[in-house]
């Protein structure tokens, strides 16, 4: 159990900066997921916590102790690698127990703990096998057992599920979550898969281009993305984003040939400006021609539980989720209502979120607290 503080951490390779000042704080026992596209610096950050990469500037503290100059073995972290990095010439037992062997733990004690750990991950029957004779899921378990046996303060996961097939990924996801509940060690999990991130995280960190875009609980981030990047990265199908104009005179939001009336006070507060407006496909509502915006359906994706229709709004692609009762065919016209409460408005220059309401909605308090905690 350990808390982790990351203060103004930067990383450059030669003259190329990859991380531009990261500030984060993780509480003891928290399951943190760092989410971002490839190349955003999330793995680099993880490897800096592990001690595998040097820290260019700033500091990382585990349990209050600055670890910048410490060797990986001195930090009390265990890591599960993307390709598992199992030692190919050692048996499963050898792999799991290697850290103890290096630490000079007596053989009897070592065997007992290997056995114990193998039980946790369900590998007792495979202890004598070599990694090459294991399936993908079993290898994954060996990698986890190798981390568990050391009873580390911090678990580090570097995209550990990305080499598994879709079905196994779901199973292993659940197992990792269960394991965390059982061991309750601080865990940091790096992934580019937003579903993994949403399902696993106590706290979600969204990164892009070497900066932290948003930190918070998964649902908060889903409902209140702090930037255009977060809005487009989280949620599937992706959020519809389109250009709009706020008109103070008309007290409306103008986009794609329609005008959506808004409160005069709100319009006055926001001021006359160009913005980017977003709405999630699942929050569009099928409505009558009078209330909704009419669009022509280009094509329909069947999901079984519902369907996604693809259309165009103001020349930009637009998707909406409709239930299985509503039947549409390509070429049909459909009217969609975009509820104001579900609209996300972003500054077009900075890409940051613009709040439409003064009153925080439920859950916002938590977000704020966590944001403060994080900084």
């Amino acid at each position: 159990m350990a808390d982790i503080a990351i203060r103004a951490v930067r990383k450059s390779y030669g003259k190329t900066p990859t991380l531009h000042g990261i500030d984060l704080a993780f509480a003891s026992g928290e399951f943190v997921v760092i989410l971002g596209p490839s190349g955003c610096g999330k793995s680099t950050l993880l490897r800096m916590i592990a001690g595998l990469e040097e820290i260019t500037a700033g500091e990382i503290a585990i349990n209050g102790r600055v670890v910048n100059r410490l060797e990986p073995r001195e930090r009390g972290c265990a890591m599960v690698f993307q390709n598992y990095a199992l030692y190919p010439h050692m048996t499963v037992a050898g792999n799991i127990g290697y850290a103890l062997k290096v630490a000079g733990v007596p053989k009897a004690e070592r065997l007992r703990r290997i056995e114990e750990t193998a039980k946790i991950v369900g590998l007792v029957d495979y202890l004598d096998r070599k990694p090459a004779a294991l399936s993908g899921g079993q290898r994954q378990r060996v990698a986890m057992a190798r981390a568990i046996i050391r009873e580390p303060n911090v678990f580090l996961f570097d995209e550990p599920l990305s080499n598994l097939d879709a079905k196994l990924r779901v199973t292993m996801r659940a197992e990792i979550r269960k394991l965390h509940q059982r061991l309750s060690a601080t865990s940091i999990f790096v992934t580019h898969d937003q579903v993994e991130a949403m399902t696993l995280a106590d706290k979600l960190v969204v990164m892009n281009k070497g900066v932290v875009e948003q930190v918070g609980q998964p649902l908060d981030i889903y409902h209140r993305p702090a930037s255009i990047f977060v809005a487009s990265f989280i949620g599937s199908p992706a959020m519809n984003l389109f250009d709009a104009h706020i008109s103070v005179h008309d007290a409306c939001l103008a986009f794609g040939g329609t005008k959506m009336p808004i409160e005069k006070a709100l319009a006055a507060r926001l001021g006359e400006r160009h913005v980017t407006v977003g709405i999630r496909p699942e929050q569009c509502v099928v409505a009558s021609e009078a209330r909704g915006i009419a669009m022509k359906v280009d094509f329909v994706e069947e999901l079984g539980s519902g369907r996604v229709i693809h259309s165009e709004l103001g020349g930009q692609p637009f998707a909406a989720c409709i239930d299985e009762e509503t039947h549409v065919r390509p070429g049909d016209r459909i009217a969609l209502e975009l509820p104001l409460a579900h609209l996300h408005v972003f500054d077009r220059e900075t890409g940051r979120r613009i709040e439409l309401e003064f009153e925080p909605r439920s859950g916002r308090g938590a977000t704020k607290r966590q944001m403060l905690e994080a900084v």
């Binding site: 972290c77 993307q82 990095a85 030692y87 290697y98 290096v102 630490a103």
Partner: protein, 295 residues
Amino acid sequence: MIQRTPFANALTYGVMVFGFLLLIGPFVVIMSGASQTFQQVNAIPFSFLPQDRLLENMSAAWTRASLGTAMLNSFVMASLVTVGKVALSALTAFAIVFFRTPLKGFFFWMVFITLMLPLEVRVVPTYAVAADLFQPVRLLISAVTGFEVSVDWNLLNSYAGLTLPLIATATGTFLYRQFYLTLPDELAEAARMDGSGPIRFFIDMLLPLSRTNMLALTTIMFVYGWNQYLWPLLMVTDPEYKTTMMSLVALLPSDNGTPDWNVTLAGSLIIMLPPLIVVAVLQRWFVRGLVATEK
């Protein structure tokens, strides 16, 4: 693929059989010749039929060229070259690949350049060094302190002299380097996370993982060491240190003596046998080693 190409197939078999005659034929001639009597071996036309005198001819060759000592010396020399080469290559490549040090590039190029000059073109001065090993040290001392020190140590007529200069090249180092580079980065990282330091990592991970690599290098180095000709010729004057390649001369019938080529061929057969066995038995490793060292 369904293929019905009788002409091309016949040609293919023809080529393969022709290649067999060309490349294996000489072995057949050597073996038949070595098993014949003095009259049979000199007969015209030559008879390819093996006779029953192989062992007699071999033992005659064995005494004539004192092959006992020579075989032993060659074996020791080839083994030392092999062991030295494998050990040093593994260590040097480890230093070059797995460390981040400013000296890394220096080591790399220093070793790399040795690929360019085979022993044959620098054989004269290398011989001079081996004949007077402390010359560089002496020069250094006299340059620094001004004193002339007279320490003499030469490597002539010694196993060290036979082997050390042959070990001082880069081929094995590059075989190991290539192998180390194919290992995933995460392997070293996982070991570091597990608390292993560099020496531990070398012993626990690299040595067991490089077993096949080691076997490949061992086969080609043994053959290389056994087949050395020029270097032993220069280093050895004492018959006690003669290697098999040097005994070839003693096997040759003298110009005016009896042309007992049957004994000569039997002797060369003995000398050819060890590397031939290594290549035949360990061919898989040998081929792998060859392809890997050159690329």
